[in-house]
Amino acid sequence: MTTSTPTLPDADPPVATFTALFRGFAKIGLLGFGGVGPIARHVIVREQKWLSEKDYATLLGVGKVLPGANTVNVAVMLGDRYHGMRGSIVAVSGLLVLPMLVLIVLAVLYQFLDQNPYFNAALQGSACAAAGMVIGMGLKMASKIDLRAHHIVAGLATIVLVVWLKFSLLQVVAVMMPLAIVANFMLARRHGHTS
């Protein structure tokens, strides 16, 4: 059913100049709070029309399978489609430069106020919010994909390995990724209906 997903049209892509790439990704970087996923889709698909909804989903899918931030990976691959390596560098820079400047301001503020008990109390509160934010984002991502029972088992097993058994990231990735992939292939073969 999904086999007909077209790859990006190599011929005649909409024109994206260096300036447009930089601006588009700068907007994504600056407006994306707590993760840039939703705003990235809005800018790339709706505003700039660089990709169709379907092509964006495909590219984001590749970005998710690879290590590193999804949107950085998308910026690398999309920049490359228009202007090769220079396009990738421009897109990633656009994504990172403005948030870095904001971060430096916040970091300086942090340095000045580090010993202030009120500021520390505020940070303690924000740290709890940031933790809840990460869990909430993760659950939201889970709610948006087609979850089968064995996917849920894989996700829960990953959580147990990290939180209770204190496996390192490399150990978890080395154990869980092959297991999950093999399980998925075996189940797909047994059911034999997916195509």
């Binding site: 931030a69 990738s88 940070l123 998925n184």
Partner: protein, 177 residues
């Protein structure tokens, strides 16, 4: 110089295994920053994470602010480049190769298998962060409240961060913290 090299090697290594992004690698980053290199305490780590989340942009900023804390502007640049460059080179190479395969059933099966594990890593990171940050009824309600807010609404999560920051100040003022 040694510190910059340590920063680079630490984040370059994590960059290449962080499937799900920096937020999937929080326990690993904390372990490197607190236990291995002893750049900071766990409390400072959670505070820096909160500051990084207060800035817009991709989640790689946690590396940037750790770099800043350890070695100033040079540290920030080195840690950010280390966190972004190796994964980007991989994405660049794979992006060129993979467009011929993304429509294939095998690719779809790999993707369907990898994404739930990546999400598991992100949720595990969030659980670890709560265990470092929350310690009583009030702080756990901040964790759960934000979780619910983020999960059920499309609103800017900064509101939750702001509300909990104010809550922290009030709790300190009234002697709860």
């Amino acid at each position: 110089m040694t510190v910059l090299l340590e920063l680079f090697l630490t984040f370059a290594r994590i960059s290449l295994i962080a499937i799900g992004g920096a937020n999937a690698a929080i326990p690993e980053i904390r372990h490197a920053a607190v236990d291995v290199h002893q750049w900071m305490s766990t409390d400072t780590f959670t505070h820096l994470f909160a500051v990084a989340q207060s800035a817009p942009g991709p989640n790689v900023l946690i590396a940037s602010i750790i770099g800043w804390h350890v070695a100033g502007l040079a540290g920030l640049l080195v840690a950010t480049i280390a966190m972004v460059l190796p994964a980007s080179i991989l994405a660049f190479a794979v992006g060129r190769l993979i467009s011929h395969f993304t429509h294939r059933r095998e690719y779809k099966l790999v993707q369907d298998a990898v994404v739930p594990v990546a999400i598991g890593l992100i949720i595990a990171s969030g659980i670890e962060l709560s265990l470092y940050s929350a310690f009583d009824v009030l702080t756990w309600s901040m964790v759960i409240g934000t979780l619910v807010f983020v999960y059920f609404t499309e609103a800017n999560p900064m509101w939750a961060l702001l509300v909990c920051a104010v809550g922290g100040v009030i709790a300190y003022q009234t002697g709860t913290f």
